[in-house]
């Protein structure tokens, strides 16, 4: 079962590598079928309630490679499979304009396999392996354009991610000597009496290292270079899912290796919370300053993914709940908004914020999706993003140490304000172009249905699940109780 969930996307990727431009329909059919099967597999695994575990290798007594399905993994797997599924029809319309489809699809699905592997990993070594694989396999997606921007973005991406992973590797090496096992155990497996400053430093290094992937300050700066360089379907997934691998790794580290008890109240928690608060504010502010559309969205990702980390660092059930809600709703919103931005770039050639004038009349559906998910990103009720912010802020008030308890909600509010600032600007220009707007900017553009399916579904989900959040809240609550 677990092998299948990793091997299926890998096989799909391999298949794509050998299809030419003439076989687009065949490729789409195969990919859609395969992806639906994968999603059903993941859902079946989730609903069957059985405990899936499969060992891969045992090298020494403490270093093993193995897979196992738990609550966090299954959420991540389902989300990944779902997002990849919806990306297929979008990419099918978008990619012919970009060229190099076989390579693109091959690496896209290879990356999916790696993400699945990271989600299913049962111990730290396996996680690390797949974590590195996601970086290496998704780098060609960033490099796809092969122009200066793509090269710079790709180089930065590799540099930061690999460098970060090495930092994490150091942490892992230290932890390996102080933990009973590197396998994931609820509550962690830190040996009693090993709560030393060195261990804390190692944990901090690992947080910063894995944080590179999630855009955590100070290793955040690859995001605004790399995400915009990738083709839109890939940047959507990079921001929505792949960057969250860093979150996943930190979650595993905090809750399954070291254990929340060992971190709570230490300087590591304070420092990590401070870093996330800084990243949240910084990302939003840089978003306001940025004029390029995709770059602005990348800064937004930096800020929004740190919300998730914030929830994790609070080390309480409510915090984890907020983080997981944010992970879920941000994935939906960010993928939709990147896809909408991609549609704008593809159909009108506008890449800058100041070229949005009149777009609401030209591409009404795209801009409607853009607006809905923007409201979710800001955290306006009844859209999904509100719930994550609600849980995060109330959790921070009761759990964050010292003055941070008041600073963090304030930062969340400030960031929401800045988010509203940088997202409202294009929306207003798009829908209210003013009376003197030239007619040329108002002629409608044909929006391909296949391309719009995905952003429309994501936008509808953020709206509906935000309005009736019961199911999602229960789900995350169960998840949080699995961690603590």
């Amino acid at each position: 079962m677990l092998y299948g969930m990793i091997l299926l996307p890998a096989a799909m990727g391999l298949f794509c590598a050998f299809t030419g431009d003439g076989q687009r329909r065949l490729r789409r059919a195969v990919l859609l079928t395969g992806q639906i099967v994968l999603l059903l597999l993941a859902l079946y695994a989730a609903l069957s309630g059985r405990d899936y575990a499969s060992p891969l290798w045992q090298i020494t007594e403490t270093i093993t490679f193995s897979l196992r399905l738990d609550a966090v993994g299954i959420l991540f797997c389902c989300l990944t499979a779902f997002c990849w599924l919806l990306t297929i029809p979008y990419a099918h319309v978008y990619m012919p304009h970009q060229g190099g489809e076989p390579r693109f699809y091959a690496f896209l699905f290879a990356t999916e396999a790696a993400v699945m592997g990271a989600a299913l990993a049962a111990d730290f070594m396996t996680l690390y392996l797949f974590f590195e694989l996601t970086t290496v396999l998704s780098a060609p997606l960033v490099l796809h354009g092969q122009d200066d921007g793509a090269l710079l973005g790709g180089a930065k991406y590799l540099y930061y991610s690999v460098g970060g992973a090495f930092l994490a590797l150091f942490g892992m090496a230290v932890l390996q000597q102080h933990c009973a096992t590197l396998a994931f155990v609820k509550g962690g497996s830190l040996l009693p009496g090993h709560h030393t400053p060195l261990v804390l430093a190692a944990v901090f290094c690992a947080i910063v290292g894995f944080g590179a992937k999630a855009g955590l300050y100070p290793l955040h700066n690859w995001l605004p270079s790399a995400h915009p360089a990738a083709p839109a379907p890939a940047s959507a997934l990079l921001s929505g899912i792949i960057a969250k691998c860093g979150v996943l790794a930190i979650l595993r580290l905090l809750y399954f290796v070291v254990g929340p008890e060992a971190i709570r109240g230490t300087w590591v928690q304070t420092a990590a919370l401070t870093l996330t608060a800084l990243t949240i504010a910084l990302g939003s502010y840089m978003g306001c300053l940025e004029r390029g559309l995709k770059k602005r969205l990348a800064y937004s990702s930096i800020s929004q993914i740190s919300y998730v980390l914030l929830g994790l660092f609070l080390l309480t059930e409510r915090g984890v709940m907020g983080g997981m809600l944010q992970l879920f709703f941000h994935a939906l919103a960010k993928i939709a908004i990147f896809q909408a931005a991609g549609a704008v770039i593809l159909l009108t050639g506008n890449t800058r914020i100041d070229q949005f004038r009149g777009l609401g009349r030209r591409m009404p559906l795209t801009m409607a999706c853009f607006t809905v998910v923007s409201l979710s990103l800001v955290g306006i009720p009844p859209f999904g993003g509100f719930w994550s912010k609600w849980y995060l802020a109330t959790a921070a008030l009761s759990a964050a140490p010292g003055a941070l308890g008041y600073v963090i909600p304030a930062v969340l509010i400030l960031s929401a304000l800045l988010t509203a600032g940088y997202l409202a600007q294009p929306i207003i220009a798009a829908f209210f172009p003013g009376r003197d707007c030239p007619e040329a900017l108002l002629t409608p553009v044909d929006e391909p249905t296949a391309m719009m399916t995905s952003p429309v579904i994501f936008a509808a989900l953020t709206g509906l699940l935000g309005l009736a959040p019961g199911a999602v809240l229960t789900l995350t609550e169960t998840l949080a109780s699995c961690l603590l």
């Binding site: 290798w57 090298i59 020494t60 590195e132 290496v136 490099l143 092969q146 090269l151 180089a155 930065k156 590799l158 540099y159 690999v162 460098g163 992973a165 090495f166 590797l169 300050y217 100070p218 290793l219 955040h220 700066n221 800084l278 504010a281 910084l282 502010y285 840089m286 306001c288 300053l289 409201l375 800001v378 955290g379 306006i380 009720p381 009844p382 912010k389 609600w390 802020a393 109330t394 008030l397 009761s398 909600p409 304030a410 509010i413 929401a416 304000l417 509203a420 409202a424 207003i428 209210f432 172009p433 003013g434 009376r435 309005l467 009736a468 959040p469 019961g470």
Partner: protein
Amino acid sequence: MTVYFVLFFPVAAALLAPTFRTERLQGRWATAACLITLVSTVVTGASLYGSVVVMPALRLRLAFDGFRLLYAVIVCFMWTMAALLSPEYFEGHRHTKRYYCFFLLCLGATVGVFLAADLYTLFLFFEIMSLGSYVWVVQEETEGAMAAGRTYLTIAVLGGLVTLMGLFLLYHLTGTLEISALKAACLLVANRRALWAAALCIFFGFAAKAGAFPLHIWLPKAHPVAPAPASALLSGVLTKAGVLGVLIITAQILPYDDRWGTLLLAVGTVTMVLGAVMAVCSTNIKHIFACSSLSQIGFILVGVSMINLLGEENALAAHGTVLYMVNHSLVKLTLFLLSGVVYMNCHALDLNDIRGFGRNKPWLHLLFLLGAGSLAGIPGLCGYLSKTLVHEAIVAYAHLSHHWAITAVEWLFLISGGLTAAYLTKVYVALFWQKGKETDPTWGTWRSWLAVTLSAVTLPVLGLAPHALAEKLTGLTLGFTGGHPLPHQVHYFSLENLKGVAISLAIGMAVYFLFIRRVLVDREGNYVNRWPRWLDMEEYFYKPILHTLTGLAGVAARAVCDLPDAAILLLRRTVLRPVRSKARRHPYTLGARMLARFRDLAHPDAADRFSTVQEAASRMAGSLSFALLATSLGVCALLVAVIIHVFG
């Protein structure tokens, strides 16, 4: 079930509105939808009176008590009247689909705001209402409208988020957001400073919506540029949503706290005087009414502060404040719809351009007098009752506290009432007595006639039956406002009470004849706006501060953000300099270079691609990332070796 209908029918109707082709059909649909909502609200309210309805799937809670139901009905009524006037107003205008869609959407949201039983529900609908009404402000898409819209949206979003911060704090402190449970929970909170912080944050957002000083800047800009039916609602209802929040803070979060009442009194007094002075100076009819709203909100806030300050003896204040809110809603509905009529006929709003419009229109004349008279507090109209009650409350508190400041507030109250009379006289004389262009005696279809008439008629009805109707209505709202029932019958038309109005009107006439006619009118008899430009708080206070702050923060953010990159660059320039010459001599680059050199011979595309690859390779080979990548591959190889060693 009917509860769902009340909330979601307007939303469904909003989504349907754009499907109607012609403007006329859209308008009729909007009117019908408003009417259906009005009827269903009344029916639902009658059947569920006094109960709380929970919608578990949506996490919403609605309550049906006196105050909420009264205002929900007023909201629906006002919307219906505005919808009646809309088709004629929008004849020949663009984007009516958008207007009607958001018009109906905001109806659902506003009803939700006033029926909300907990602060989450309230906040949810409040945000939808705030953001939806942005579309009204920018409906015309003129330069002024866009600028006003920017200010409006900024304040609305800022206010909404600060309120959210307050809700975070409040929920953290009390563990509940249910309005009826808040009072008990808040009294138990030990950390009073945090509770105050929460209350102030919540107050910020609601005060911004109400237009209280110093967050009033959006109001005089936004109300005049919006289409008249929308201005009527912005002014009549949306500001009241702000007051609703202030009432909740007063009655539930900080009850019996004198400092809160004092703060509110100060804010209210400043707003009251400022708005009135601005209205006296202005020459645009809608701007005058907008500033008047500002001033009236000040009056209402003074009333709310009296509810708090008078404690057990707040019966007069509680009755008066609610009646004041109702009166202001209905008066502003009447007056803004009238200004819409003026605009439909004259296509102008400046007093100098619309002079004499009402000269040959006796019915319009009467309707205007009803609206203006009620606002100025002429006996016999609703406004007189509310003004008298609040005035009595202030007098009572002045007796109780023996503080000179309260007496000063009482006089400012009377003076502001006088200024109200003065600016209304200014509009009245210009519109109905001064000579201007000759106009047709007909001023609208039966729909507009009906809309304005129905709005205005409510005022004498309430005003002439103080005990039978007005007091009964306000008596129902005491549970919400935390007021006490009237201990004895109020003699509205006693000499003492009439004296207050007389003083106000005397001041008003003095201001009109001595100031407006002499100073604000130039030699040719044209009205001029002598309001000094440097008093524009937005241009000369908020914007410079904001620009300086954002500029500084921008520099700081960029520096902090790029610091790691700069450090890496520094390292690469010093310690970790790439070894360039070796990379160049590498054999595979040599081949590539040769191929690139014979570009003419090879296929141009191939050579191009090759040079790109070569460039990429040289960059990657020269960078630290490549070194790291190589190391990671090496580590992988090492792992494989270990595996083979262990298993082999």
